[in-house]
């Protein structure tokens, strides 16, 4: 029987890579464990080993091919006693897919103020207090990963007291490559690899901020910041207050928050509600690359401690970023990403993408949904939400975390306070199941909220079921 050799993945979040080199040719005999090819991603290179013994019957993807999808068949192996010439490639084999027609990716309908959008309703909304983008400004495509890096690099050039520290940030260029290139440009005194002690280096950062530096503390993930939460809350957030206003703490704690792919209960938590609960902190959770850049620059300049929640599953997503010398956004302002009249969908971080997809599906079903990206959780722009609900009369709050004492609870309570008479239906909440996030792929998907859950909740709110 012939065996399919598939494009391997380094990690669950890898979706495609470059097949850089074949080390075997058709007709070669291989043993289990032999290195047969090399592949590359933006994070690493990796050797592909043969799993089984046999003869390479067909090479289906040429060396040098980019964007090869994980798990697509890259070669066929004839096993013992089989004629290699008779092996055929699988028929429906998309060996190579162009990334621009990739329908597996969420394709959010980003209603950019300057972008033309023939399909959706024409947005005449102006986001409150976002800086004007001058006419003729060009936009550059950028990943969120690089937009965050650019924000840090620009602020480090602008202000010598800004530095970044954390595990793997220097030599390794960041566990998720967000600090790529910073060590080369700024050196190891401003891009500092720390020992593995989150409580230790968060405290160190707080001390450095008290000493008038401006630290950017990267947590490999916010899950590991559980160790450091005493420093963040009891020291960073409260010292200005407790010292009678004498000693402030200008610091950014940043890193990926929420669920990644298959990293289990201890590495997949959404801390939005945890940090947003605390006076003295600012909490930001952007969705797209322009917001990631503009808000991180604002966070670095902010005299207060800012918890900046990123999302691992968004790092590689590409968005337009205005090509301006100094793109800084105000913290505390929501953004209406799609206008609608029947129901308001409120979301932040990765859930914004799902809310936009849901709005698209709802529009096909005859419901007009307005999508609000909160962007900042503390301060929380309840004004924008309340105004929207006064128009749509219905509300669905979407978050990746648990419902209990969650972000949705806060928003619903505020809307009931300020717009009770406008509501035509009880507000709904979309959230993770109330369990630690399971590891198995099927249970993970079952536990996490997604587009379908939002569509269902919105229809229920609109139809009163």
């Amino acid at each position: 029987m012939s065996v399919e050799i598939m494009m391997p993945a380094l990690s669950p979040t890898m979706e495609e890579g470059t097949l850089s080199k074949w080390l075997v040719k058709e007709g070669d005999t291989v043993s289990s464990g032999d290195v047969i090819a090399e592949i590359e991603t933006d994070k690493a290179t990796m050797e592909v080993e043969a799993v089984d013994e046999g003869t390479i019957a067909k090479i289906l993807v040429e060396a040098g091919t980019e964007n090869v999808k994980v798990n697509s068949v890259i070669a066929m192996l004839a096993e013992d006693g089989e004629d290699a010439d008779s092996v055929e490639a699988p028929s429906s084999q998309p060996a190579e897919t162009k990334s621009d027609d990739d329908d597996a990716e969420p394709a959010p309908e980003v209603q950019d103020e300057v972008a033309e959008d023939a399909a959706g309703p024409k947005p005449d909304f102006k986001p409150s207090n976002d800086p004007e983008i001058p006419e003729g400004t060009s936009f550059k495509e950028n990943t969120i990963r690089d937009a965050l890096r650019d924000a840090m690099a620009e602020e480090m050039r602008r202000d010598e007291s800004v530095f970044v520290m954390g595990e793997e940030v220097a030599q390794y260029q960041g566990a998720y490559k967000v600090t790529r290139g910073l060590l080369d440009e700024f050196g190891d005194k401003r891009v500092v690899d720390t020992p593995i002690t989150e409580h230790g280096f968060a405290g160190l950062g707080v001390g450095a901020a008290f000493g008038k530096l401006k630290p950017i503390v990267e947590f490999m993930t916010f899950n590991f910041a559980m160790q450091a939460i005493d420093q963040i809350i009891n020291s960073a957030a409260k010292t200005l207050y407790m010292s009678g206003g004498q000693m402030g703490c200008s610091i950014v704690f940043r890193g990926p928050n929420g669920a990644a792919s298959r990293v289990g209960a201890q590495h997949s938590q959404d801390y939005s509600a945890w940090y947003a609960h605390v006076p003295g902190l600012k909490v930001v959770a952007p969705y797209d690359a322009a917001d990631a850049k503009g808000l991180l620059k604002a966070a670095i300049r902010d005299p207060n401690p800012v918890v900046f929640l990123e999302h691992e599953l968004l790092y590689g997503e590409t968005f337009d970023v205005p090509d301006l010398e100094d793109w800084v956004l105000p913290i505390g302002k929501a953004k209406v990403r799609r206008e609608g009249t029947d129901v308001t969908l409120v979301a932040h971080s990765r859930m914004v993408g799902f809310a936009l997809e849901a709005a698209e599906q709802l529009s096909k079903a005859g419901f007009s949904a307005e999508v609000i990206d909160l962007r900042s959780l503390r301060p929380l722009d309840t004004g924008t939400v309340v105004e929207s609900v006064k128009k749509t009369n219905r509300l669905v709050c979407c978050e990746e975390g648990w419902r209990y004492m969650g972000v949705g609870a806060e928003i619903v309570a505020t809307v009931i306070d300020e717009a009770f008479d406008y509501l035509d239906a009880p507000p709904a909440r979309v959230h993770q199941a109330d369990v630690p996030l399971p590891y198995a792929a099927n249970l993970e998907a079952l536990s996490l909220p997604g587009t379908e859950d939002i569509v269902k909740a919105a229809k229920a709110v609109c139809e009163g079921i």
Partner: protein, 415 residues
Amino acid sequence: MTDTGRSYLHVPEPSFRPGDKPTFDEMIIPQAGAVRRPPVDVHPDDIQDLARTIIRVMSSDNEAVGEWAASLTDEEALEGLKDMMRLRTMDARLLRAQRQGKTSFYMQALGEEAVACAFQKALEPGDMNFPTYRQQGLLITSGYPMTSMMNQIFSNSQDPMKGRQLGNLYSSKEHGFFSISGNLATQFVQAVGWAMASAIEGNDRVGVGWIGDGSTAEGDFHAGLVFASTYQPPCVLNIVNNQWAISTYQGIARGNAATFASKGLAFGLPSLRVDGNDYLAVHAVAKWAIERARKRLGPTLIEYVTYREGAHSTSDDPSAYRPKDEADGWPLGDPIERLKGYLIAKGVWSEDRHAQMASQIEDEVAAAQRESEAIGTLLEGDKPGPRDMFEDVYEEMPPHLREQFAQSLKEAGEG
């Protein structure tokens, strides 16, 4: 970073980076047999030198020499060889299974098999390990079924963790293997707490803490030493120094201390440093420390000097931060090759029998993998169900979870 002067912050750097020719010339390695074996009731102050040397048993002539030799019979040493080979074979197969998409993540113990395999050999039923993610050798040695490990790696319907936990983070109470925490170091102080419970109950069961070189920087490590020092519970605290914490070399966590073991000296703990690639030495030192604990003489801190030959995990690419051939220059050799050489020199083993054993183990592991894959992998087959997701959040399922469970069954078409 002020304009009054140059920054003089000290950031330690490893001696070699990719492209350099690595050597380990600076490492001081005593002859096998050179370090004395003190009585187990020795006062910690009298053995402070043992924290700054390396206890070794197997000589370059493949002989077991010195006062730490002869803790095992030939038969037991052969079992140890087999355990290490089974572990290495399983790791290699599961690493390849990950590359084929059958699981999303894997971590191998390549190069440091002797540490966990030999330590477990010195424990008794009822003792409890609080391991990290690279001590699967404890389970192999204690007879935990390989198919159970694989079922967890593949998160199939027979996964003993019911699809809830990462593949490498095993748990087996029965095999003295406490549930692994994915967050570093938390288990170290818990091992001390478990041993305190043993002391309070008046029994002689030993708690074993495990930690890597990098995570000794965590506060939990220091808290563990404080409580071990203060309450003198029956525990053994193990530091596996495999030189690398992902891309961070051991000097970043060690700082200006001479060795990791020497960090125990200020706490008044007997602190020993041992050749982690010498199965016989690891076993002898483990046995000494476990005997101390069981005789109610207090805790011991042990540093195992070894080398992480593979990547940190399947998501890591070590060629970005260390020379590709660094492992070849590692002066303490390979644990399997060294034990094999010793047994052959002793006349109880041969190259032929070794090759035969390797092929037998390959078959055994392949059979276990086939059995487990037939149940299911990430790609296909039987998976855990919604019940597995909602049970065990609490001892008894509360009403709101019953509702969510019923809803998910309805959505899955099973309600």
